[in-house]
C-alpha cells in the first residue's frame, strides 16, 4: 500500500551536435526534478565548466529552457529570483524556465551557497550565460531569416523582424539545445529599462506545492530498496567506543545491522521507527572525555587560547600612539555566545552505492565540495561520486547536512543498500557545527569636540576561513578528513565604514575553539558589527551627541548616508543624545522604552543596511522585548522586492532571537542544549513588527540580501537598551538575568 507517487522525472538523452550524449530534463508541473529521480545516472557527460554556456542552460525542443545552477535555494526563494534573471535575459515567460540546482553531474561549481552571493555571483553568471545564448540566437536568426540582427526582437522564445515577415523559434535555431560556446563575460546584458520580470515581486515558484504537501524536501526523498538508519553519537565528543552490545537491540523487529567503524556508530532497520528505537536502546561502552572548558569560564578560556596569527584588517594613522592626545578615553568588551543554526528540520541524507558509483542526495549548500569530501572519506575517485541537492529545512550556514551525508555514505557502504539517515533533534542541536564564541575588545579616544580621534579594536576569533568543515562521520571513523578549522570568513566587517583619523582593527586568530565551528548566518559580520556599532554608540553617548548625527558626521559614502537618513525618516527618529531622559512620572509601570540605531556596509563593499530597534525593558525582571524594528536596505539592483523583504524579515526575527535568548550550553564533555526547551528561540508572541524600506538601483549590480540585514540587529538592540535604561548590554544573549544585573548600577 502506498499513496506515494514518486514525482516523475522524464529524462531524455539529447544528442548534441558533436555526438556526445547529454542528460536533458523535460519537467512537468513539478520542479522537484532531482527530488523525483530515483537514481538519475548520467548516461553521458554534460558540460559543467564555468566558462561554457551549455554548463548553465539547455534549450528544449518544446521551447523550455533548463537552467543549471550551482547555487541552491536554501529556503530563501533564490530559485525564483534566478529564474527571473534567466527568463528576463532570454525573453522567455517564467513558466518556461526550469531550474536544476546543485547537482555535481549537471551544474557548474559556482561555489557554495553562502555569503549572500547567490544573486550577486551565481545569478550574474547565469545572466551572462543567458545573454550570450540570446546573442547567439539572434545572430543565427539573422542568418536564417536573412535580415539584420538589429531589426530582430525576441519574445516568448521566438525571434522575428520588427518589419514583419516570418519568425523562427529558439528550438529551431539550436537543434539539440546546445550552444557549444564560451560565456562572453563582456556580452551586453539587457537594459534595465526594458526589464519585465526583474525588479518585480514575482510569486515564488515553490510556494503552492509547499503549502499543500506536494513539495519534495530532502526529508521526503525515497529510493527503492532504501533502509533507515540513525546515528548513535558518543556521549562525550572525544570519547572512544570501547564496546558495543549488538544483542541489546537484536529483539527489535526489522533491525538490519549495527554499523560500527571506529567511533562511528549507527543502527539500520527496515522501518524508521525501528531505527529510532534501536538508537535509543543500543548499549555501548564509551570512554570518558572532558576536553571542553567550563562554560562558566568560557571567556577566560577564549582569552587564554593561543593566538596563531594576527590579521590586521585596517590600519589608518597610528591608533595606539594617538591615545595620549585624546581628551577622553573609553573601552569596552563585547561577547557573543556560541550559537547553533537551529534548522527546524534536522539534517537528512540518502546514499546509494551501485556499480562502483556513489550517489548522495542531501540538502548540502555545497554539493561540489561535499563530493570531494565524500571521495576523500571513502577513497573513491571524485568522478565516481555524484552529489545531488534537494531542498531541506531552512539552512542558515554550514549546519549538519554534509555530516548527515557522510553518515549515510558510511552506513550504505556497510549494508550494501540505499540508506536514509535522518538526524534526531538532539543530533542536530548537539552535533551541528556551531557559530564560535566571539570576544571583542575596543578602545577609543575622543578629541575635545567628542569626535573619534583614535579607534583600536581587537577581535578574538578562531583561525581559518570558509573551507570544508570536517565531516563528523569521517572524524569518528578516523577516515581521511580535514583537520583545519573552517569558521567562515569571520574577519569581515571588523574594519569600520567610518573615516576616523586613526584606526587599527586586528583579528587575533585563535588556535582552537571549544566546539567544531562553522559559519552561522552572517558569520563574523554579525558579531563584529555588533561590537563596532555598539561601541560607536558608546562614543556618541560620551560625546553627548545624537547617534544618527554622530554617524553621519563620520560617514562619507553617499549610499550609506542615504540608508541612514531613510531609516531615521521611517522610524521618525528623534534627534537627541542617548540615553533618553524621560520624566519618571511618565513611566508606565516597570517598562522602560528606548531606541537604538545601527548601520553596516556589508563587507565594506556591498549591500548597505541601517536599522532602528525599539525595545521595552522591564526594570524589575530585566526582560527585554523588541516590539518594532525599522530597517532600510540598499542591495543595488533588486531582482524580487518581495523576496528581499522576506529575507529581511527573516534576518531581523532570527537575529532578535539570537540576541535576546540564544546560547549553546555544554558541560566538560558535550553540548547539553539538545532540544528546543534547553535552546529556546523567539516565538510568535515576541516577534517584532518589521517595517522595511528598500532603495532600488535598477541600473547597478545586484548584491546579496540573505545575510546583510542580520548584521545590524545586535547593536541596534544593545543601543536601544542603553537608550531605555542607561546601562550597556555587552554580552549576547541579553538575558533577563544579565540585563537586570546591569541595571543595578544605574
Amino acid at each position: 500500500m502506498s499513496l506515494m507517487t514518486q514525482t516523475a522525472l522524464s529524462r531524455r538523452t539529447l544528442l548534441t551536435g558533436s555526438g556526445a550524449l547529454l542528460i536533458g530534463f523535460s519537467l512537468g508541473d513539478t520542479l522537484a526534478a532531482q527530488g523525483g529521480a530515483p537514481n538519475p545516472k548520467a548516461t553521458g557527460s554534460k558540460s559543467v565548466a564555468l566558462d561554457q554556456v551549455d554548463s548553465f542552460l539547455a534549450l528544449d525542443a518544446d521551447g523550455r529552457v533548463t537552467i543549471f545552477s550551482g547555487k541552491v535555494d536554501l529556503g530563501t526563494g533564490v530559485k525564483t529570483a534566478l529564474a527571473q534573471m534567466a527568463a528576463e535575459e532570454l525573453d522567455l515567460p517564467l513558466d518556461r524556465v526550469t531550474i536544476i540546482q546543485g547537482d555535481t553531474a549537471l551544474t557548474p561549481d559556482q561555489g557554495p551557497t553562502y555569503g549572500s552571493l547567490s544573486i550577486q555571483k551565481g545569478g550574474v553568471e547565469i545572466r551572462q550565460a543567458a545573454a550570450t545564448a540570446r546573442a547567439r540566437l539572434i545572430s543565427l536568426a539573422a542568418e536564417r531569416l536573412g535580415v539584420a540582427s538589429q531589426s530582430l526582437v525576441a519574445e516568448n522564445g521566438t525571434i522575428r523582424s520588427t518589419a514583419g515577415g516570418p519568425s523562427v523559434s529558439y528550438a529551431d535555431l539550436i537543434q539539440g539545445g546546445h550552444f557549444e560556446m564560451k560565456v562572453d563575460k563582456e556580452v551586453p546584458t539587457k537594459d534595465p529599462a526594458l526589464f519585465k520580470l526583474v525588479g518585480r515581486s514575482v510569486a515564488r515558484l515553490d510556494i503552492p506545492d509547499k503549502m499543500t504537501g506536494r513539495f519534495t524536501y530532502m526529508q521526503d526523498f525515497r529510493v527503492p530498496g532504501m533502509v533507515h538508519a540513525r546515528v548513535v553519537r558518543p556521549p562525550a565528543i572525544g570519547a572512544n567506543l570501547e564496546s558495543v552490545d549488538a544483542d541489546s537491540v537484536a529483539g527489535i523487529p526489522g533491525l538490519i545491522k549495527v554499523v560500527r567503524e571506529g567511533n562511528f556508530l549507527a543502527v539500520v532497520a527496515e522501518r524508521e521507527w525501528a531505527a529510532i528505537k534501536a538508537a535509543g536502546a543500543l548499549k555501548a561502552q564509551w570512554s570518558s572525555w572532558e576536553g571542553l572548558p567550563e562554560q562558566e569560564h568560557l571567556w577566560d578560556h577564549v582569552r587564554a587560547t593561543k593566538v596563531t596569527k594576527d590579521d590586521v584588517t585596517s590600519n589608518v594613522g597610528d591608533a595606539p600612539a594617538a591615545f595620549p592626545n585624546a581628551a577622553k578615553t573609553l573601552s569596552a568588551s563585547y561577547d557573543f555566545a556560541i550559537h547553533t543554526h537551529g534548522s527546524i528540520g534536522p539534517s537528512c541524507a540518502v546514499a546509494e552505492i551501485k556499480d562502483g558509483q556513489l550517489t548522495c542526495w542531501s540538502a548540502s549548500q555545497m554539493t561540489h565540495a561535499l563530493r570531494k569530501q565524500l571521495a576523500a572519506m571513502t577513497g573513491m575517485a571524485p568522478e565516481a561520486v555524484r552529489c545531488i541537492y534537494l531542498e531541506g529545512s531552512g539552512c542558515y550556514g554550514r549546519n549538519g547536512h554534509e555530516d548527515a551525508a557522510g553518515d549515510a555514505v558510511l552506513v550504505a557502504r556497510a549494508v550494501g543498500r540505499p540508506v536514509r539517515v535522518q538526524w534526531s533533534r538532539a543530533d542536530e542541536h548537539g552535533w551541528d557545527p556551531k557559530g564560535p564564541p566571539t570576544l571583542i575588545d575596543v578602545r577609543a579616544g575622543l578629541d575635545q569636540d567628542g569626535n573619534v580621534l583614535t579607534w583600536h579594536s581587537q577581535f578574538l576569533l578562531p583561525d581559518g576561513a570558509a573551507g570544508n568543515v570536517p565531516l563528523v562521520a569521517a572524524t569518528l571513523a578516523e577516515l581521511p578528513h580535514e583537520t583545519t578549522l573552517s569558521p567562515g570568513n569571520i574577519i569581515q566587517n571588523s574594519a569600520l565604514p567610518y573615516a576616523f583619523p586613526n584606526i587599527r582593527t586586528v583579528c587575533h586568530r585563535l588556535a582552537d575553539t571549544p566546539l567544531r565551528p562553522s559559519w552561522i548566518r552572517t558569520p563574523g559580520r554579525m558579531q563584529n558589527t555588533y561590537a563596532n556599532e555598539a561601541f560607536l554608540d558608546e562614543c556618541a553617548a560620551a560625546a553627548g551627541a545624537d547617534p544618527l548625527a554622530y554617524r553621519l558626521k563620520a560617514l562619507q559614502d553617499p549610499r550609506g548616508i542615504a540608508v541612514l537618513k531613510r531609516a531615521a525618516e521611517l522610524a521618525k527618529w528623534e534627534t537627541r543624545p542617548s540615553p533618553a531622559h524621560r520624566d519618571p512620572s511618565a513611566r508606565e509601570g516597570d517598562i522602560l522604552r528606548g531606541r537604538g540605531l545601527s548601520y553596516v556596509r556589508y563587507e565594506l563593499y556591498r549591500t548597505y543596511v541601517a536599522g532602528i530597534a525599539e525595545v521595552e525593558v522591564n526594570r524589575k525582571t530585566g526582560a527585554v522585548r523588541v516590539p518594532r524594528f525599522f530597517i532600510v536596505q540598499d542591495c543595488g539592483q533588486i531582482i524580487n522586492p518581495d523576496g528581499v523583504r522576506n529575507q529581511i524579515d527573516g534576518n531581523v526575527i532570527q537575529t532578535v532571537s539570537r540576541v535576546l535568548m540564544e546560547e549553546v550550553t555544554f558541560n566538560r564533555s558535550a553540548v547539553t542544549s539538545l532540544d528546543w526547551a534547553s535552546y529556546p528561540i523567539l516565538t510568535f508572541p515576541d516577534v517584532p513588527e518589521v517595517i522595511i524600506d528598500l532603495i532600488d538601483h535598477p541600473s547597478d549590480k545586484p548584491w546579496g540580501s540573505g545575510e546583510p540585514s542580520a548584521a545590524i540587529v545586535p547593536a541596534a538592540i544593545s543601543n536601544a537598551i542603553f537608550d531605555a535604561t542607561g546601562a550597556r548590554a555587552r554580552s549576547v544573549p541579553f538575558t533577563p538575568a544579565k540585563v537586570k544585573a546591569s541595571l543595578q548600577g544605574t
Binding site: T212, S424, W676
Partner: protein, 156 residues
C-alpha cells in the same frame, strides 16, 4: 509480530501493518502512506512541524502512538485540506501572502491555524500569535504567517 491497524486518513480507510503499535502516527503517515505534509522536526512535541488534525483538533503526530487512535477517528493532513489546484482557504491565504521561506514549518502553521479558525472565526492578531505560540519557525516568517491567518479569517 505484525499488528494490523486501521485508520481513516484524508477520508480514506487504510490499513497498515506495523511491528510496534506504539509507532508514532507521524512515521505511518510519512513512511507507509507517503504523505509529505506532516513533517519531522523534533519528535518531542516541541515544534509543531508534524501537526495534523484528529477529529478537527490540531494534534502533534510525532508524539501520538498509533495505539491511541481509533479507526473511526478522522485524521486529516495538509494534503487532505487541499491541493495546489484546489487549496483550502487557509492554504490559499498562505499562498497569497507568500508566507514561507523554507516552508518546513508551514504544515504546522496551516494545520494549527485551520483548527483555530474552526473555533474562532475572527481572531485578533493577538489571538493568532497566542494560538501559534508553540509552533516554531526558524526562518522568521512569523509576520507573513500572521497576515495569512488574518486574511484567511476574512475569506472564510
Amino acid at each position: 509480530m505484525a499488528h494490523t491497524v486501521s485508520l481513516n486518513v484524508n477520508g480514506q480507510g487504510i490499513t497498515a501493518s506495523l511491528d510496534d503499535p506504539e509507532t508514532p502516527l507521524l512515521y505511518v503517515l510519512r513512511d507507509d502512506l507517503g504523505l509529505r505534509g506532516p513533517r519531522f522536526g523534533c519528535g518531542l512535541g516541541q515544534c509543531g512541524a508534524c501537526t495534523i488534525h484528529v477529529d478537527g483538533q490540531a494534534i502533534r503526530s510525532c508524539v501520538t502512538p498509533i495505539s491511541s487512535l481509533k479507526p473511526s477517528q478522522k485524521i486529516v493532513t495538509l494534503e487532505g485540506l487541499g491541493s495546489p489546484e484546489a487549496p483550502h482557504p487557509v492554504q490559499q491565504a498562505f499562498i497569497d501572502e507568500q508566507a514561507a521561506q523554507c516552508g518546513y514549518c508551514i504544515n504546522g502553521m496551516i494545520m494549527q491555524s485551520a483548527a483555530l479558525l474552526s473555533t474562532n472565526k475572527r481572531p485578533s492578531e493577538d489571538d493568532i500569535r497566542q494560538a501559534l505560540a508553540a509552533n516554531l519557525c526558524r526562518c522568521g516568517t512569523h509576520l507573513r504567517i500572521v497576515r495569512a491567518v488574518k486574511r484567511a479569517s476574512e475569506t472564510l
